[in-house]
């Protein structure tokens, strides 16, 4: 078992399952990525996108149907999980119910034959790291969900693994605890200085934690990039929709100059930025509710006349649902007050109207 490493290489890692009627489907289709020491990687996607499958393949809990995994020059995809030595945090914690907090955390060390004295010392350090000192003799059943989660994290990191794998570790916690524990996870990742692979379906978690995000859908990688890129420049319509580009309308392409595309749908004209190879006659334009502004654009460009249909008050601002003259429904966030029936002018900056091919690959 390696303690340290410089990179983990996944090469066309594939996992097939027998589907309905004996038809095999790829739960994970040719995932290729190289993860460097110190990196925090988030696997992001809706449920069933293959992100947990990918994590289980890396941990060794699922055999691969194809591809290889290498830790530096060591091929590990053929090793059983106990020989890989990665720390894993499970969604429902998977704490051993019959062992005290102390024995849960020390389990991996005992399995490695670490001496009792050293185990005690390292367990105490891990308890301090997750701020659970004083709880060592309790059984998991006597702890709150948040405390159990921290025991699970301590148990995975006390063995000082080259790689920590986390499978939606925060999904069972309430909103406040989730944000606190998120910061803890980031801090622990920095203190360990190794690599973390983190599975989540929550964009906020992925954006705030990760150095790089892998967006997946139906087992296929859609985009691997820095959070800023994923947020502002989604590679395709799937990623855009998943990252909160809620307004998607299909329009005719009038012309394109460089990246700039002119679109038209009956009376509406918009210009946007092409995110994919120059589209054909039809294209989809995607916009965030946060980036649509009330009022006319410069020289009246990219401006739409709309009628307010719904208003959802959200504290700092409201989510306003509007309908264009052509019947397209859009959502925008605004701090201005609006009431159903109001007529408004709205506009979106051309660089924030992203243009995609109509049927994304």
């Amino acid at each position: 078992m390696k303690q340290d490493f410089s990179e983990l290489r996944l090469d066309r890692v594939t996992r097939r399952f027998a589907g309905v009627g004996g038809k095999a489907f790829n739960a994970l289709d040719e995932l290729t990525i190289t993860i460097k020491r110190g990196e925090f990687i988030a696997l992001l996607g809706p449920s069933g996108c293959g992100k947990s499958t990918a994590l289980n393949c890396i941990a060794g809990l699922l055999p691969l149907s194809g591809g290889t995994i290498q830790l530096d020059d060591l091929r590990i995809d053929t090793l059983p999980p106990e020989s890989r030595g990665f720390g894993m945090v499970f969604q429902n914690y998977a704490l051993f119910p019959h062992m005290s907090v102390e024995r849960n955390i020390g389990f991996g060390l005992r399995m490695r034959g670490v001496s009792a004295a050293e185990t005690t010392m390292r367990v105490a350090n891990a308890l301090k790291l997750v701020q659970l000192t004083g709880q060592e003799h309790k059984l998991p059943g006597q702890l709150s969900g948040g405390q159990q989660q921290r025991v699970a994290i301590a148990r995975a990191i006390v063995i000082e693994p080259p790689l920590v794998l986390m499978d939606e570790p925060l999904s069972n916690l309430d909103a406040k605890l989730r944000i606190e524990t998120r910061a803890e996870i980031r801090r622990i990742h920095h203190e360990l200085g190794r690599a973390t692979i983190y599975v989540t379906h929550d964009q906020d978690e992925a954006l705030s934690l990760a150095d790089r995000i892998v967006v997946m859908k139906d087992g296929v990688v859609q985009q691997i990039d820095r959070p800023q890129q994923i947020y502002a420049q989604p590679a395709n319509l799937h990623v855009a929709r998943f990252m909160g580009y809620r307004n998607v309308i299909e329009m005719d392409v009038e012309g394109a100059t460089g990246d700039c595309v002119e679109l038209r749908d009956r009376g509406i004209r918009l210009s946007g930025v092409a995110m994919q190879a120059p589209p054909g006659a039809r294209a989809m334009v995607a916009m965030r509710p946060e980036e649509i502004v009330v009022g006319e654009g410069p020289q009246g460009r990219n401006t739409l006349a709309v009628r307010v249909e719904t208003v959802e008050y959200g504290g700092r601002d409201s989510l306003v649902g509007v309908v264009t003259a052509t019947g397209a429904r859009l959502f925008l966030r605004t701090a201005q007050s609006a009431a159903p029936g109001d007529a408004l002018s709205i506009h979106v900056p051309a660089e924030r109207a992203l243009v995609y091919a109509p049927t994304p690959a």
Partner: protein
């Protein structure tokens, strides 16, 4: 505090409790009354003082050794049943194509009566049975091995009839343990053997103790196979046989009741010991966190 207790005292009678009445009546009529009647009867011997039956049991050479004779059959049979059922049930814990088939095959004997099993064993294991014929083909086979009409015949029959029961019980305990615990252990470096030893075994221990108790009580009351497959005059003169003889050959119901009481007491002691040991183990839920 006072108001609370008085409120409780005035709480209306819960009429749903009446639903338990038929079952209670049934228990009283078919279990508690016969048991108390037998207990009382055992202290009413045909002759002598009220303890005469118990005195007789512990002094007569053909009575008190039946306790050990029966224990010598029941304890090994129970240990074998639990001991074999555990690894097989462990292998069967994950759903596979063969799981259903193997489980069915293993459970079939539970549907056969002890007499049917005895009959089959007499033909198969007997001196002229298939097993003996097969063994004769082996070069080093020396004389006829005897597997019927002795201790071994009864033991084998107890294993055949008791195994499915132990297997089903342990299987249900094992499948109740969240498999993600073993996976978590494997990521922490536990080999399959270590996963069994550190995760499954401690979580199963209370269930195994329970299974042992139930299987033991069943084996200790062995009767038909001890007569049909054993040597009822000697090595397999079990305690229930002694009670049967007292009741239906000597017509001494009082002595028979005393023997039945002693039999129950021995079972109770073993069960108490095993359940006492169970207290040493963890007995909480067997899942690893909120799911």
């Amino acid at each position: 505090m006072n108001t609370q207790t008085s409120a409780l005292a005035r709480a209306p009678f819960d009429r749903t409790l009446l639903l338990a009445a038929p079952a209670t009546l049934f228990m009283v009529a078919l279990f508690i009354y016969p048991f108390l009647y037998g207990l009382w009867l055992s202290f009413e011997p045909a002759k002598g003082d009220w303890l005469a039956n118990y005195h007789k049991f512990f002094t007569a050479d053909n009575l008190w050794p039946t306790i050990w004779t029966t224990l010598k059959l029941a304890l090994p049979a129970t240990l074998i049943n639990v001991g074999i059922a555990l690894p097989i049930a462990f292998r069967m814990r994950v759903k596979s194509r063969y799981q259903r088939l193997i489980t069915t095959v293993l459970v079939v004997p539970i549907t056969l009566g002890t007499v049917l099993i005895a009959d089959g064993m007499l033909t198969y294991f007997g001196p002229k049975g298939w097993l003996a014929h097969l063994l004769e083909l082996l070069p080093f086979y020396e004389g006829p091995i005897r597997l019927t009409h002795n201790y071994w015949g009864v033991l084998i029959s107890l294993v055949i009839s008791g195994f499915p029961f132990a297997f089903l019980l342990i299987l249900s305990y094992i499948t109740g343990i969240d498999p993600v615990l073993a996976r978590a252990a494997s990521t922490l470096g536990a080999s399959p053997a270590a996963q069994f030893r550190h995760i499954y075994l401690p979580l199963l221990a209370p269930g195994l103790a329970m299974c042992f108790c139930l299987a033991f009580v069943q084996a200790y009351s062995v009767f038909p196979s001890a007569v049909l497959l054993g040597a009822p005059a000697g090595p397999t003169r079990v305690i229930s046989l002694a009670a049967y003889e007292a009741a239906f050959e000597q017509y001494d119901y009082s002595l028979a009741s005393a023997i039945a009481m002693i039999m129950g007491f021995v079972q109770l002691i073993i069960v108490a010991i095993v359940l006492g040991l169970r207290g040493l183990f963890y007995r909480g839920p067997v899942v690893g966190g909120k799911g």
